[in-house]
Symmetry: C2
Subunit: 420 residues, 2 copies
């Protein structure tokens, strides 16, 4: 099944927002052993949309569109798709009923026949939207399947969840292969070093199992192998063989996860399993470490809290960092990081306290401690260690890198604890 996504949205081509729907659709398809072939973003004009439809209808069997179904005048998807197909937009009892239901779900009254949501291109179906107001659309044209969803990511996602299987998947033969991305996540090693120095034969070994990919991200590289098999048994066998290849490779010490879970998911998992309470004293990360772990459901079981200590006064008063330490060494120092980690563990009664102090820029820093300098303190089981790093990047990137460094250290610390 060749599937293409057409994104209709000036807001993306004008840089107002980034597209989130390609990623959502790709993940959705993969969970059904399907792949996304291409994604094309066009402007909200008739000519651009027609051109996009032309291209995707010539290359794909299933075309999914996102955007332009809303209530304002810049929402032109229905009209332009209809004109491209030589169809009219007409009043539809089905659309009226679906829109009425969409509104009822939010305890709101639908305007009815005078509202644009009651109109559809001839021969189209209206699809319920379980998270918003605008109905989705479906039709078959030139033997190709067309599903149109709203641009708002939450609504686009629910349209897929609610209608893709019934309207599209059921019409095709089930995929003959099972597909999975086998992912291994590494830390603290540059992409180039992995395959040139550390494990020069690794790529070739992996390639015997499927398409290999390497994706660098904040302070790490994800190595992926797209494996296919006739059934899940074959897939499991391939996965266990791949795992052995990695486990016996010189890269093993840099691997922090076999799987796609995020660092914060692993942290919450380990901390909850071992019942270890933790929290942060965040200076330069400004709350990001806490925000990341609290993004995971269940984190409240062991993440107790943090102190975001941006000012010197908060470091001193809330965490008990000594005035002499701040005066003699500065707030960005090994000494301050140490007292912050101890301070937050003591003040919030934590098993593990992690502190982060550094210069995220663009201001601050000094010749000895330039922007990008960070100290991470880890206090646990009566011991405190401080780690020092120097990273490149702008303020946003540095906050991300600083938090990543702190979370790697936290996970390593949690792994040292025995299960209680």
């Amino acid at each position: 099944m060749k599937i293409g996504l057409l994104i209709i949205g000036n807001e993306i081509l004008e840089g107002k927002i980034a597209d989130a729907n390609t990623r959502q659709l790709a993940r959705f398809l993969l969970s059904r052993n399907l792949e996304l072939m291409t994604s094309l973003t066009v402007r909200d004009t008739e000519a651009s949309i027609h051109q996009g439809l032309e291209r995707l209808f010539s290359d794909c069997e299933v075309i999914i569109t996102s955007g332009g179904l809303g209530p304002t005048k810049d929402d032109v998807t229905k009209e332009t798709i209809a004109s491209w197909m030589g169809r009219k937009v007409i009043f539809s009892d089905e659309a009226l009923a679906v829109a009425t239901q969409n509104y009822q779900r939010f305890q709101r009254v639908f305007a009815g026949k005078e509202h644009g949501y009651s109109y559809l291109p001839e021969g189209f179906n209206a699809l319920e939207n379980s998270t918003g107001f605008a109905p989705g659309l479906f039709t078959i044209h030139q033997g190709k399947y067309l599903l149109c969803g709203p641009g708002v990511p939450r609504e686009f996602k629910s349209l897929l969840d609610d209608h893709f299987d019934q309207k599209i998947l059921s019409a095709f033969a089930p995929p003959s292969e099972v597909i999975e991305l086998f992912t291994v996540r590494t830390k603290r090693i540059p992409e180039e070093k992995i395959f040139r120095e550390t494990a020069p034969t690794l790529w070739g070994q992996l390639e015997q199992y499927g398409t290999v990919s390497s994706l660098p991200h904040i302070m790490g590289v994800d190595i992926g192998v797209k494996i296919k098999g006739a059934n899940t048994v074959e897939l499991e066998r391939k996965k266990s063989e791949l795992r052995k290849i990695f486990e016996s490779s010189p890269l093993m010490p840099n691997i922090w996860n076999f799987g796609t879970q995020s660092l914060e998911e692993l942290i919450v998992g380990v901390a909850n399993r071992k019942n270890i309470s933790y929290g942060f004293a965040e200076s330069c990360t400004g709350g990001l470490c806490s925000h990341r772990v609290t993004g995971i459901s269940g984190s409240s079981q062991t993440f107790l809290g943090s102190v975001v200590c941006y000012s010197v006064a908060v470091k001193a008063k809330s965490l008990g960092v000594k005035t002499e330490t701040l005066n003699n060494y500065g707030a960005v120092s090994e000494e301050a990081a140490k007292e912050m980690a101890v301070g937050v563990a003591r003040s919030l009664n934590l098993d593990v306290g992690v502190s982060i102090t550094g210069f995220a820029g663009p201001g601050g820093g000094s010749p000895e401690k330039p922007v990008g300098t960070v100290y991470v303190g880890v206090h646990a089981q009566g011991k405190t260690q401080v780690f020092h790093y120097q990273f490149p990047g702008d303020r946003e990137q540095l906050k991300q890198r600083f938090s990543q460094a702190a979370l790697y250290l936290l996970l390593e610390e949690l792994e040292k604890f025995a299960v209680t």
Copy 2:
């Protein structure tokens, strides 16, 4: 100048990451009064890349590619572009020199002639990469301009900054028009209500100035007008007329910004100008409010710190929330929000203390206070107010909405203060 972006990246079509380069390129172009016509994402295969090149070379005068220039075997951009053009990939002294320089910038030694970075398609230029290792590429083919950058957003951006003007912009006549997106940001009103009920004539009025757009986002709608003019004087006149239209519209009470600045930028601006210190007691937002304001450079001037109080014990001990309050009303209650706001202001010595307590789900909540319930407390100038909201969404969306609600209230509170 018709400009198209070709994104080469399985990692995007497999849903591993979301594309950030379309947005970056669009913003970059707009700053030069240019527009991005389309963005096309294709798989890392020769056939897909060839097809993408075919399409963009037929539609555009300037083609920019992103991705596939790295050191691993899945980086095939150079080879496939060369084969599409019928050119060979050859050793290049220029590429060797550029790559050597890229490495030197990071105090690393380049492997030289044996490294793929020393090779280029015939007739291509190698371009310095000021933030990474892989050289960018440039050529003119069939009278069309081709610029190839790395996929890593930071490197893609620096390639544009460093080379676009000299290699491409200078070859074209300067744009005859000045373009700007006039943006007005509204809060607490659904998109549909704006144009159907509150200000039904607004869209028509705005349309006389340029293309109008409406973009809903977390708890608000951005209304945009793309204005063009022969020069900045004409643009300024249009902007001031547009502003008057909005100021006399019934929508005015919902407008929180004329411009594209974010909520956190406005907060940092107002707080710093008036010298008002502030901070948060964050329960369900888990550090997100603090993370958002500390994303803005200069925030350290008045944002002093926060307490992320996930556990009941931290609420009680660090913020002084009374045990009776927690027992009688629960941690998610008007009463707890009130004591949290007062507590954080007192404990961190803040002019304004903002508290957030609610249920972000998926667990927690009760029939009376379901997931999505949030209380925001604002303590300032001796007074404490608590606001209660009920939002839809999953955990991630709710954290975003809760923080947005809190930051709107913080901005409103800061605006009440006199300049000192």
